[in-house]
């Protein structure tokens, strides 16, 4: 913690392993079959709108729900619906899914470019596009916009930090579709009447900073903010504080402090969607790891099975551990047949797991976890409180503020499962009705 | 409770110091030498015997409301009596015990036994209980004194047994050593009785009688 510059958010320095930095995003060959789950977002799962045997086109809506807190699901291939099944997603949740047999023609559904005048139209358009936070959280994008009194929102923060090791998909978006990013920002600021925008990018991506900086010079309201490359720079509250200086108070949403945050890829997709009206049906993901022969960035239709993607990149046979997402917050894949969903931004395959199974030894009270926690919590004490199931103490130590970035477990010399215990503690509090 | 049972209970099963954790102040303070330990033990036994007998004699006379001050005065009386005797016949021991001789008055054991036993039982039984508890106390103090003197000064009852070879560890004479040896002795008792001592302390009646039952250390385990 350097005492010199202002209040510095805690964090850890992690090896970047950004070896797919210069890999241009290339599409993978069309899979024969896609399995599109109905729950690819945080919120209420969708219900399938098609029957077995129906013919669907690329970008046709195949699942929706009347609930606001959900994002509709579209087909990424043209073909015939083969089956309606149930699968277990990487995060462990069960969900219905539509299996579509691709006919190879990839016939596009007649998309209409949305006409938007008021904020309300913008909100319905974004919802129709099926866009979810592409940073990995999967929070339906329109929910962030749909703020009753939009006037209080004044700033847009674009998250291009991408602090997870290996992943370079956002970086590639900044390089390959910088114009889209600019147009997207302009659109969002126009429709929501925002006054200024900050783009947070870690210093280990100079080309992205330089490119976006050049393009965004056109609008003085937009500022590119280079940030120290410290994990978890991309965490919502951390990035908002580092770029705008505003502290999102405990228990409140960023919108309460007048800020809306969007992932840079979401903004880029939004710009494309506002032009062509084509919903979110493919994902630019990074494929990397010690088992992968051809690591790189690939655009993958939503629903393609993980095995297929890895086989194409030559990383399936030797893999003993496959991660969906980054090594810090990603989840391990148990069944390679599971599909790539909207929220997956990377697939990592390793010949053997990175961190040898550490047997947890006694805590030596070294304070590294407290120094690492960006939310200023005391993971060591949280673990004791959880072991004793002392919910009062858990609440007193504000475990609900934990963003699950994993920094504490990463630095713990005794290899104790600190961030995992926080997840359990939050469930315990939720079960008890916090 | 047969008489023999009353006596033995005080000595081993419910040893006032090592099991019930009463009277810890003198146990730590005067046990720098085995001789002092025994001296203190016997003086306390004398006072305990005297007060138990007198209190069980007067148990009907003393009204409920003022029983505490009465007991305390009777005990103080006996303590002063012991003070006279020691001053006259054993000045060296009196010098060694010093202040702690008069602190026997506030020793929880005596007050506890008076409250719990003497005020409810016959004179004979009270006397036996007093002797049992008294000798239990002396035994505990003797152990403490012996260990501390042996390791701390290399002597036993004042006789040097280090033959110039072994060097005594002075710290056992100091207060720190007192705490340490006392802790180890209780641990040993816990180990020997395989934890029964700990439970017995928790449902012991000796503590309930002590007016400070609510907040005193030994009895906290009762409350737990």
């Amino acid at each position: 913690m350097s005492l010199l510059n202002g209040k510095r958010i805690n964090g850890v320095t992690v090896r970047h392993d950004k070896n797919t930095k210069n890999a241009v995003t290339t599409p993978i060959p069309l899979p024969q079959r896609v399995t599109i789950p109905m729950q690819q977002h945080m919120g209420v799962p969708c219900k399938p709108l098609v029957e077995v045997g129906d013919r669907v086109l690329v970008g046709q809506k195949i699942g929706d729900t009347e609930h606001l807190f959900a994002a509709p699901v579209h087909s990424s291939v043209s073909g015939e619906v083969e089956a309606l099944t149930e699968i277990v997603l990487p995060g462990g949740k069960r969900s219905q899914a539509v299996v579509i047999h691709a006919d190879g023609k990839q016939e596009e559904f007649p998309h209409k470019t949305p006409t938007i005048t008021t904020a309300q139209d913008f909100f319905t358009a974004v919802r129709r596009s099926g866009l979810v936070g592409l940073g990995g959280a999967g929070f339906p994008a329109h929910m962030k916009l749909a703020y009753k009194d939009v006037e209080r929102l004044d700033t847009l923060v674009v998250n291009a930090a991408e602090c997870e090791p290996y992943i370079t998909s956002d970086y590639r978006t900044c390089i390959e579709s910088a114009e889209d990013v600019f147009d997207g920002i302009e659109a969002v600021m126009h429709f929501l009447g925002l006054t200024h925008c900050f783009i947070g990018i870690e210093k280990n991506k100079p080309e992205a900073i330089e490119k976006l900086g050049k393009i965004c010079k056109a609008d003085s309201r937009i500022r590119v903010v280079p940030l120290p490359a410290r994990y978890p720079q991309g965490a919502e509250k951390v990035l908002i504080y580092q770029t705008t200086g505003r502290t999102v108070r405990a228990g409140s949403l960023p919108a309460d402090s007048g800020v809306m945050m969007q992932n840079v890829s979401s903004i880029a997709f939004l710009a494309d969607y506002l032009r062509r009206g084509r919903p979110l049906i493919e994902r630019f993901i990074t494929v990397d790891g010690t088992a992968v022969e051809r690591p790189g960035n690939y655009s993958v239709p939503v629903g393609t099975s993980i095995r297929e993607v890895l086989e194409y990149c030559g990383g399936f046979e030797k893999a003993t551990q496959i991660l969906s997402g980054g090594p810090m917050m990603g989840s391990a894949v148990a069944d390679p047949e599971m599909p790539v969903t909207k929220t997956c931004n990377a697939l990592l395959a390793f010949t053997e797991p990175e961190d040898f199974a550490l047997s947890a030894t006694d805590c030596i009270r070294c304070g590294r976890c407290t120094a690492a926690c960006p939310m200023g919590l005391r993971p060591g004490m949280l673990e004791d409180a959880y072991d004793k199931r002392d919910t009062a103490q858990l609440r007193a130590l504000s475990v609900t503020l934990c963003v699950g970035c994993g920094s504490c477990s990463y630095v713990c010399p005794a290899g104790r499962p600190l961030s995992q215990k926080n997840v359990l503690a939050k469930d315990l509090l939720r079960k008890e009705g916090n | 409770m047969k008489n023999r049972e009353i006596f033995l209970r005080g000595l081993l099963k419910e040893n006032p110091v090592l099991v019930m954790l009463l009277g810890t102040c003198p146990t730590l303070a005067v046990t720098t030498m085995a001789l002092n330990g025994i001296g203190m033990g016997l003086a306390t036994t004398f006072v305990l015997l005297g007060s138990n007998v007198v209190i069980s004699l007067l148990k009907r006379v003393i009204p409920k409301e003022v029983r505490l001050p009465c007991y305390i005065v009777i005990i103080a009386g006996f303590v002063t009596l012991v003070g006279f005797l020691l001053e006259r016949y054993l000045p060296a021991l009196n010098q060694a015990l010093g202040l702690f001789l008069s602190l026997i008055t506030v020793n929880c054991i005596i007050l506890g036994r008076a409250e719990m036993f003497a005020s409810k039982n016959s004179v004979g039984k009270s006397a036996l209980d007093a002797l049992g508890m008294g000798f239990g106390f002396t035994l505990a103090l003797f152990c403490m004194g012996a260990v501390r003197e042996l390791i701390g000064a290399g002597t036993i009852f004042g006789i040097d047994i280090t033959f110039g070879v072994l060097e005594p560890m002075l710290i056992f004479i100091l207060p720190a050593g007192g705490f340490f040896v006392f802790g180890c002795l209780i641990a040993l008792v816990n180990r020997l009785t395989k934890g029964r001592a700990a439970e017995r302390r928790s449902q012991a009646d000796g503590c309930a009688g002590c007016p400070a039952a609510g907040a005193c250390g030994g009895c906290e385990e009762v409350a737990k």
């Binding site: 958010i9 850890v12 090791p165 509250k237 504080y241 502290t247 108070r249 405990a250 003993t320 551990q321 496959i322 991660l323 997402g325 090594p327 917050m329 990603g330 391990a332 148990a334 797991p353 990175e354 961190d355 199974a357 550490l358 030894t361 805590c363 009270r365 070294c366 304070g367 407290t370 005391r378 007193a396 504000s398 503020l401 994993g406 990463y410 630095v411 961030s419 | 007067l58 003393i62 009204p63 409301e65 003022v66 009465c70 005065v73 009777i74 103080a76 009386g77 009596l81 006279f84 005797l85 001053e87 006259r88 000064a153 060097e167 005594p168 560890m169 002075l170 710290i171 720190a176 340490f180």
Partner: protein, 515 residues
């Protein structure tokens, strides 16, 4: 390919594990070890090996005996062993070093549950236990390079700290101190080697700079008024360097947050200067670190980090009052109160009366003046002295007070009270025309076994026959007016000498040879 390995996020670890940290600490201790061997010879290596081996053995045996997960692998026992060795003089008997390891590993650390559970720093506590138990062995320092000329009789030199605290000896220049060319414990003398090790630890981020800087900074600040040269001597002497860099920064026994570490460092600095300047133990570092260890729980509470985005009002814990329902006892009618108080008064009167009677019977004549016991003692001091009578005590010099004075045919005896190590010291000094005929200590409050040795016959017999001013020498009587002080109890020996000198002065003033 076989089933995939599934583990919970995060799936990556920094690689810094407890054994890695402890290995780095051991590496950081190597320069100091080399310096100790250079200055104090191969025995330094032997002592370190013994303490480390016994520390590891005790931890291994304890964990096995208690059927607990074996933790010898985390090398923390080895670190404690080496650190303990660095706190012992090189001439320490090996069995004492092993006792030190036992205390450090079993009593202070494992009994509390092993690494992370102990509240006191094992090596520091062990050093204090040894310092208190074997004061003589722990305070006999050998000169650096003394091992090069073994035939010369090992001269026990005073450490810079002892010289600072007033005992004779030349004060090495700060440079010499910095390099470590001075008396002291095995590993603590060479500040250069320790700072080297400290730099390594900072570089490997094993320790954070807060505690060493705060600690050394506070000591430097407090000793600056005595002049820069004196400050440097203060900083590089005694156990300050090893204490601030290796002992105070022990994870388990120091605060967790940066702010807490700074408070801890400042606290240690204050206490060290307080104890070194005023206390009777020359080395204040170990006591101050142990005392601050006790405050760590509170420091951790005061300097707890405030969770991100938690404003002040949310943080204030509402004080849950534990209500003790006050039972409103009704005012009882007078009669109920009267009877018990009456009985109480009767009991009190009875007891007082009984005591009054027994007191008369066992009254001990309280003679003032000369009891036979006192007379026999006086004749012991002044042989053939007869028909003693108490005289008016003469005026006493400023550093001692003469409380009583007895005259007899053959000489006088003065009862003198003077200030010593632990408090007041009362002596009886017998003086005849030929000079001091006998000295006996009636009451001493010095630490038993150390200061009290100044009351033994061996030491007191040296005064017999002396007439003029008597002086105290540390080990060998160089001048004929010298007497040799009791090893390790110079302060008490000096106190006895001042008392005897006071008696001699009073006697000469009383008019020559005491008729």
């Amino acid at each position: 390919m076989e089933a995939l390995i599934v583990s919970q996020s995060p799936h990556r670890h920094s690689g810094v594990t407890t054994p890695v940290i402890m290995r780095d600490v051991l590496i950081a201790l190597i320069p100091a070890l080399i310096a100790s061997v250079v200055f104090f010879g191969p025995r330094a290596l032997l002592v370190t090996a013994v303490t480390t081996a016994s520390a590891i053995f005790f931890e291994y045996a304890y964990r096995r005996l208690m059927h607990r997960q074996q933790t010898v692998g985390d090398l923390s026992a080895a670190v404690t062993g080496v650190l303990l060795a660095f706190n012992l003089p090189v001439s320490i008997p090996l069995w004492i070093a092993v006792i030190g390891s036992f205390v450090a590993i079993v009593v202070v650390k494992q009994l509390f549950g092993g690494i992370g559970k102990n509240f006191a720093n094992p090596a520091i506590t062990a050093r204090i236990v040894l310092m208190v138990s074997f004061a003589v062995h722990m305070t006999n320092w050998t000169e650096p390079f003394a091992y090069l000329h073994p035939q010369a009789e090992a001269v026990a030199s005073a450490t810079p700290l002892a010289v600072l605290a007033g005992s004779e000896g030349t004060l090495p220049s700060p440079l010499m101190l910095f390099l470590g060319n001075c008396g002291g414990c095995l590993g603590e003398t060479s500040a250069l080697a320790l700072l080297l090790g400290g730099a390594y630890l900072l570089y490997k981020r094993v320790i954070r700079p807060h505690i060493p800087l705060a600690y050394l900074g506070t000591v430097a600040l407090l000793t600056l008024p005595f002049g820069v040269e004196r400050m440097a001597t203060y900083l590089f002497s005694g156990g300050l360097a090893i204490g601030a860099i290796f002992m105070a920064t022990d994870y388990t026994t120091s605060p967790i947050t940066g702010k807490g570490k700074i408070i801890f460092g400042i606290g240690c600095g204050l206490l060290t200067v307080l104890i070194r300047q005023f206390g009777s133990y020359p080395e204040g570092v170990s006591f101050s670190i142990l005392l601050m260890n006790l405050l760590v729980p509170y420091i951790d509470i005061w300097t707890a980090p405030r969770p991100f985005g938690l404003t002040r009002d949310k943080k204030k814990k509402e004080k849950t009052k534990t209500a003790v329902e006050g039972d409103q006892t009704p005012i009882r009618p007078l009669r109920d109160v009267l009877r018990p108080t009456a009985v109480l008064c009767v009991v009190v009167v009875l007891i007082a009366g009984a005591l009054l009677a027994t007191y008369r019977v066992t009254r001990v004549e309280e003679e003032t003046g000369l009891t036979e016991a006192l007379i026999s003692e006086l004749t012991e001091l002044v042989p053939q002295g007869a028909d003693w009578e108490e005289l008016q005590p003469p005026a006493s010099p400023e550093n001692a007070t003469i409380t009583r004075c007895f005259g007899s045919s053959a000489g006088h005896v003065y009862e003198v009270v003077t200030k010593s190590y632990g408090g007041d010291l009362t002596l009886l000094v017998g003086i005849t025309p030929e000079g001091v005929s006998g000295v006996s200590v009636t009451e001493t409050s010095d630490t038993p076994g150390l200061g009290s040795k100044a009351a033994d016959e061996g030491f007191l017999s040296q005064f017999a026959g002396r007439k003029g001013e008597i002086t105290v020498a540390k080990n060998k009587a160089t001048r004929d007016s010298d007497i040799v002080a009791v090893a390790g109890a110079t302060i008490s020996s000096r106190a006895v000498t001042t008392a005897v000198n006071a008696a001699l002065a009073a006697d000469s003033e009383l008019g020559g040879d005491g008729e």
